[in-house]
Symmetry: C2
Subunit: 407 residues, 2 copies
């Protein structure tokens, strides 16, 4: 497996475009489009929030019933959530309009929205945007990069990644892009993530690969504990790499899954590290757990603890808050058996042993916690399972961004 440049257009046969459609933002790109001439097998995971945005409901149906997906139309600025029947009608109108210009069926078009809840989409501008993008669709890396910029809301930078892997002599590519960066506490999937691949794989295995992988990637990150109404991860496979179709869990499937995991892990970590207002990526590993589920519950409880997140912002080795968050997680463990370490590019330090503080150097701990990415590792000495969760620190800027009127 090797990492290559690009994102959603890295795989063969995928085109992208983006434009400034003035949906809500002035002077910046806010619409993007992904297109494949070859119809794609599609897998999707979506928010578990009971309040689902209209595009989520639309895509769930498309992914389930469509004979093949050709395109995705995305806008930033307005989420099209809590918009009633009018919002649902706009999804159909968007798909119909794009389908006509692309000369493909309406039920081959997915839509995705991100932004303010409760506002209706300005359909004239959405249609103008589509009209501008269709003739500009391009399979260059630049076109994919433009799309990754257009879908951002409070993100501070675009997020894309691509890898290549050999499957029985053929090179296949998986590329993706995503955006955060508030209301991030995915349950089944993250806010908006789009992954494309030219691999030839059965729809069943494509769906299983995605469903299993989100559990260890997007579902292990949190920015603020708020599960969005719009969480969507779409995985499109057009088969243009020409590999023999993967129809069983053989070595090719394992290689595909490993590459997909790399793409999703990279995007998920990028999202956590670029959480609203964040100054640091906060990684929490729980090791030697009895079960993976136990390790997941414990690590997620720590990355969602406001007190711990504020301490990370302050570069304070406030280990008591970490033990406290593990304690209220609901998972069983013996607090008096826990060893805890902090680590970063600046070194590693053991802070507590068997639940009690060691005589560590606060100065050294602060230095370690001052890096852009810090890791807390809890050894709970119960078994062989482990899990990793990713969050970020809680900062003034998080409050500023979200207290500002209707962000």
């Amino acid at each position: 497996m090797k990492q290559v440049k690009g994102g959603i257009t890295a795989a063969k046969g995928f085109y992208a475009a983006s434009t400034a459609a003035a949906i809500k933002y002035k002077d910046r790109k806010d619409m993007a489009m992904i297109f494949s001439k070859t119809p794609c097998k599609a897998a999707g995971t979506f928010t578990m929030n009971l309040v689902k945005a209209a595009p989520v409901k639309w895509d769930q149906k498309i992914v389930k019933d469509s004979r093949g997906v050709h395109a995705v139309v995305v806008n930033a600025g307005i989420a099209n959530a809590c918009t009633g029947q009018e919002g649902m009608d706009y999804c159909k109108e968007t798909a119909d309009y794009a389908a006509k210009l692309l000369d493909v069926p309406s039920d081959s078009i997915c839509v995705a929205s991100t932004g303010v809840i409760g506002m209706q989409l300005p359909m004239d501008r959405i249609k103008n945007g589509i009209s501008v993008m269709v003739p500009e669709l391009n399979d260059t890396l630049e076109a994919g990069h433009g799309a990754s910029q257009a879908i951002m809301t409070t993100d501070t930078h675009e997020k894309e990644v691509a890898v290549q892997v050999e499957l029985s002599g053929k090179t296949i590519t998986i590329g993706g892009m995503c955006k955060g960066s508030g209301m991030i506490h995915p349950n089944m999937c993250t806010m908006l993530s789009f992954v494309t691949t030219d691999a030839n794989i059965s729809k069943e295995l494509l769906e299983e690969a995605l469903r299993e992988d989100v559990k260890d990637t997007y579902n292990m990150i949190s920015v603020d504990g708020d599960t969005s109404t719009n969480d969507t991860c779409l995985l499109l496979a057009n088969g243009e790499a020409g590999n023999e179709e993967i129809t069983e869990k053989n070595a090719d499937y394992e290689a595909f899954v490993k590459a997909l995991n790399f793409v999703n892990t990279t995007l998920a970590k990028e999202m956590a590290g670029d959480g609203e207002g964040a100054t640091a990526l906060f990684e929490v590993k729980v090791i030697h757990a009895k079960t993976k589920e136990q390790a997941k519950v414990l690590s997620k409880s720590v990355i969602t603890s406001n007190l711990t997140k504020a301490a990370i912002y302050g570069h304070d080795a406030n280990w008591g808050r970490i033990l406290c968050a593990m304690g209220y997680s609901g998972a069983e463990f013996d607090p008096e058996q826990v060893d805890l370490y902090f680590g970063s590019e600046n070194g590693e330090i053991k802070i507590i042993e068997n639940g009690v503080a060691l005589d560590y150097s606060e100065e050294e701990a602060t230095k370690i916690l001052s890096a852009k990415a810090v890791t807390a590792t809890a050894d709970i000495k119960m078994g062989e399972a482990s899990a990793t969760a990713w969050g970020c620190d809680l900062t003034y800027d998080y409050v500023k961004i979200n207290a500002d009127y209707r962000s």
Copy 2:
């Protein structure tokens, strides 16, 4: 029932004292003591966090086994949590020392601590503090007030309340004090709350009254979603009011429970409104729910949503975040049936009807949300149950307080 002045010394026969013992703070009171010559029946509810502070373990045993509680010794600054066997030994040493000076049995002394996790108590100063306080024990309201000041950590003001109620011709009094104001997301009880009463009531009914009441009071507040290691609520009844002992669920019991609920609700709301960095109390009511449990899950989900809390700080009627938080709560409801109102001393406004925004005045909504206490009411139109939860806004100061080194 009528509210009267005072707190823990309002009921007959309760004495208090407080002192500056330099446990961790300089120049302020940081130790308090409650005392009753008559041994008290005691009820207690404690943190559900798996990581329990030493004083919690001590008090659980005392409340369960003691023939009568005479005193509580409290310190602020150090939590005596994650302190191993040494921390447990200090609870006994504290109780033994106080018992000797008070001439009562060791197992009639409860202890409570609040503050930093992981540090050991300076026992010489704890003992000095007790030596100073014992001769100063007094049943004046001022003595109780001093105690309510001494137990504060990041609280901005002391919290006490008292009520009187007639039970079969005798007046009984219930008074209490508590402290917050971070790591507040009680599960079974709040951080530290002490309630005293001169009512004569059986231990069984005292315990049941407290156990049931915390579910609607302390367990319905949250400041930051972090369930503390030290949550403790102690209810002491010395029977000095001389009423006929309450041994069954008669009218006297109902009157007692109602008065207890008033005391606990008042203290719980005070704690939420004085949450770390808070500028406003944020009350969320869910009405017309199918079950009370459903209403509780929904209302608690909203008050713990960081995004909603930040919007309240910004006086922004960002109702989409409220619906979103209800949606990921895990409770079932129909988003397209929800009506939502905002209210405060500045008026009331209906924001959404059947899940879709009304054409309300943003200016009026902002005015309503600019009050010191704001209420969001969600009508979910499913039945007759309701619940109320109390939280606060998320502010720069919350981050400041908790990012500052080892608060």
